[in-house]
Amino acid sequence: MNYKHITEIVDSASLLSLSPEEVEQVNKHAEECESCRKAVAAARISALAMRARAQEEFRVQPSPFFQTRVLAAWREQQSVESGPAFLRLWKSASALVSSMALATIALGVLTFVYPEPATAVEQVASTDAAEAVIFDQPDEQLTYEQVLSTIYADEDEAK
């Protein structure tokens, strides 16, 4: 068997698909011929690479937008399961709304039920209230005698 003959066998079909008889014939010759041995080795590796390529095509590969579509579908399903928008909002903000309502009620109670006692400033203001009322009145509503009697009332009582 010469070199040309064995390469014809090797190139006539994929080395992985040769019949057992052909494989035996090729191996037998390859043991004696170095160049044929190299040709067989190269053909074997080429056939393995081709097979790997064919298997790679059949391997499941998600499309680039697969993950996006899956996430969109999952979110849609979640929104349907969780009910109307108001309930979803209430679920997420119920704690905040409740605490705000309690704070408002507490402020109302403190304001209207327990009013604050009068301060010292307010008490001082009340002693001068008479003069303040007079001085704040427009001039045309008070007579001159009324003003004098109010201002000098204390001095007259002391005398």
Binding site: T7, A42, S46, A49, M50, A52, R53
Partner: protein, 130 residues
Amino acid sequence: MEGWLTRIATNTCLNMIRGSKRRPELTVSDLTEDESSWLDQQLNEKVGSVENEIVAADLADRLLGTLSPEDQQALLMIDGENASIKEVAEATGWSESKVKVRAFRARKKIRESMEKLLGYKGTRAEQVSK
């Protein structure tokens, strides 16, 4: 109807292959580190992992890229998809002898390219310097 659809699919694939860039020759310097180590593993007849299969598929793609679109088509269908000569002839509209010749020529060219990559034809140093 089936034959008509097959012919359309085949012609579409051929046009896609024609559209891809064809390299005249693949040399050792073109190989990636992974591809080179995969070749070494195969020479030592070690069993590869899934990652290595991917590397092998990429290498096959690059080797196929050195062939004409028609030769690629014939080799892919016969050696890749295990199609018979007759099936390829029906799908492509070529005669069976033409399919055989194309597949034979494609295998021979790929084997010779592989021999060069393995350093069987010319030293690796010469190939790297190219």
